[in-house]
């Protein structure tokens, strides 16, 4: 499908798409990593499935890591394979309630925010929204 570039909206991943080959990149870059050609900005839709994951079990070295206000808690991270022909897997912190429930293939929705992309399990509402869009 074609992703309609829209004005930067909360949640959409601001990536880029090559003008010559079917390559999408995140974050946006001015050149295509495959052919070196020019790219155009593209908002990538965040629906997808978990391609791989791990858990950060100990606090990363600080700096550069900044501990959250409540202190370090182990967190999951992974790559989400975006659906709908985006052809790209995006690194994200996984906002899951239970680290033991993380599985390859689980449906997730990635969204952009202040920090790195974050992914949370797709709810029924998300899926309906995607179908309706």
């Amino acid at each position: 499908m074609t992703t309609h570039p829209r004005s930067p909206a909360a949640g959409l991943l601001q990536g880029a798409r090559c003008s010559r080959c079917p390559v999408a990149v995140y974050p946006a870059d001015s050149t295509c990593p495959r052919c070196g050609g020019p790219t155009a900005p593209a908002a990538l839709r965040g629906g997808g499935t978990l391609w791989t994951w791990t858990v950060q079990r100990y606090a990363p070295k600080s700096p550069p890591y900044v501990e959250p206000p409540g202190g370090f808690e182990p967190f999951a991270l992974g790559y989400v394979e975006l659906e709908e022909g985006e052809g790209v897997r995006v690194a994200a912190v996984l906002d899951v309630d239970d680290l033991d429930e993380v599985r390859i293939g689980m449906p997730l929705t990635v969204s952009a925010g202040d920090g790195v992309p974050r992914a949370r399990p797709s709810s029924r509402t998300d899926e309906e929204e995607e179908e309706g869009s």
Binding site: P33, T54, Y58, P64, L77, Y79, V88, R89, D114
Partner: protein, 383 residues
């Protein structure tokens, strides 16, 4: 023997681990050991290539080795530093630039080294502040997907580490020499799922050096016990590979720089993976050794599960892998690792590997390094 052949006439290494000496001092020790092994004086060396990632410039070693006026080129190529130095040395001989050439690699990393900064990788600072600039995450995520696709179990990862420590115990210069059981490996604490603490190598200190020469010079100088370097190849990643610190990776089937470098090395040598009697594969952690067995062409994806359980990669197995304990037991001084591998295979092919000698007189050896940001160097050696 083809006219392109280059001979390894001397090999030396220092103990790896923690050391009082500087990286440069260790490099001088390794070079002198390699020269003594070859029976060639420093004054007879006509060109040198070498480097470290973070322990200084190799060309300054001439102050301690002797100021003899030879060209000495610094190499800085991440984990492929040793391999790139070796390829440069090979090409110097093949081109006629020099007939006796040194390759040296060394490093000294403090405990818990490798503190990458996001800006050095072209990433936004949020990748650092949110905790994604951690190398072990990449290794965990790559083997996690591989295990899912190809049926590799945590037990197999543990067996790889168990073998590394067992072989380290047979290697006087190794860092980790105490045996660790597979059960202890699994219970050593999760670092980056599915990889536990004892499955990882540690940044460390050490040096290794190789002296190479042309076949004519080997005859003239009456060098004992040479090994033929059949090929040496270095490659960088192609589009579609999965590397450390990637904010996104392409969809579809992954490409592999290790697969590319290994294939090039085997093609240049006219030798197939099935001909190899002993090999060294980059084992930054257990999962890397498992995946590199397939990426370098030694088995199909997924066959490792049965091969490792059957002992195929043990010293007495059908394909001994990392007979000196690899990176897991030797640690990782980045600049030195690639040449440590060559040192070990040279010892094996000469039948001088002591307690860890592969039985039956191995004739063909292979080495493989892999590192960030997607670089690999491979060699094929024969005796």
């Amino acid at each position: 023997m083809s006219s392109n052949d280059v001979l390894i006439c001397g090999a030396g290494r220092t103990p790896f681990g923690r050391a009082e000496e500087s990286g440069r001092q260790l490099a001088v020790s390794a070079v002198n050991a390699a020269l003594a092994d070859a029976g060639i004086p420093w004054s007879r060396v006509r060109a040198a290539f070498g480097g470290s990632d973070s322990a200084g410039l190799a060309d300054t070693l001439v102050a301690q080795l002797g100021l003899i006026g030879l060209p000495f080129v610094n190499v800085k190529n991440g984990c492929a530093t040793g391999g790139s130095a070796l390829v440069s040395a090979v090409n110097a001989i093949r081109s006629g630039m020099a007939d006796v050439v040194l390759a040296v690699g060394f490093d000294k990393h403090p405990r818990g080294a490798f503190d990458p900064r996001p800006e050095d990788w072209g990433l936004g600072e949020e990748y650092g502040s949110d905790g994604l600039m951690v190398t072990t995450q990449f290794f965990g995520m790559k083997i996690q997907r591989y295990m899912h696709d190809h049926g590799i179990t945590p037990q197999t990862l543990a067996r790889v580490a168990e073998k590394a420590y067992r072989n380290g115990g047979l290697t006087p210069e190794a860092w980790r020499r105490k045996p660790v059981s597979a059960a202890e490996v699994l219970e050593s604490g999760m670092v980056s799922d599915p990889l536990t603490r004892f499955m990882f190598c540690s940044p460390g200190t050490g040096a290794a050096a190789i002296v190479l020469c042309s076949p004519e010079i080997a005859r003239t100088l009456d060098v004992p016990a040479t090994v033929t370097l059949r090929s040496a190849a270095v490659r960088t990643r192609r589009y579609g590979s999965f590397e450390v610190f990637s904010p996104s990776i392409p969809g579809g089937e992954l490409t592999s720089v290790s697969r590319d470098a290994a294939r090039a090395a085997f093609e240049q040598a006219g030798i197939a993976p099935g001909d190899v009697d002993v090999c060294q594969l980059q084992d930054t952690e257990s999962g890397a050794e498992v995946m590199h067995m397939a990426e370098c062409g030694f088995c199909e994806d997924g066959e490792q599960e049965k091969l490792i359980a059957a002992g195929a990669t043990e010293i007495g197995g059908t394909l001994p892998v990392n007979t000196d304990g690899g990176c897991i037991a030797n640690g990782e001084p980045i600049g030195a690792s690639g040449l440590r591998q060559v040192y070990e295979v040279v010892q094996q092919l000469r039948g001088r590997a002591g307690d860890r000698q592969v039985p039956g007189g191995p004739r063909i050896g292979f080495t493989h390094v892999y590192g960030a940001p997607g670089v690999s160097a491979c060699t094929v050696l024969s005796h």
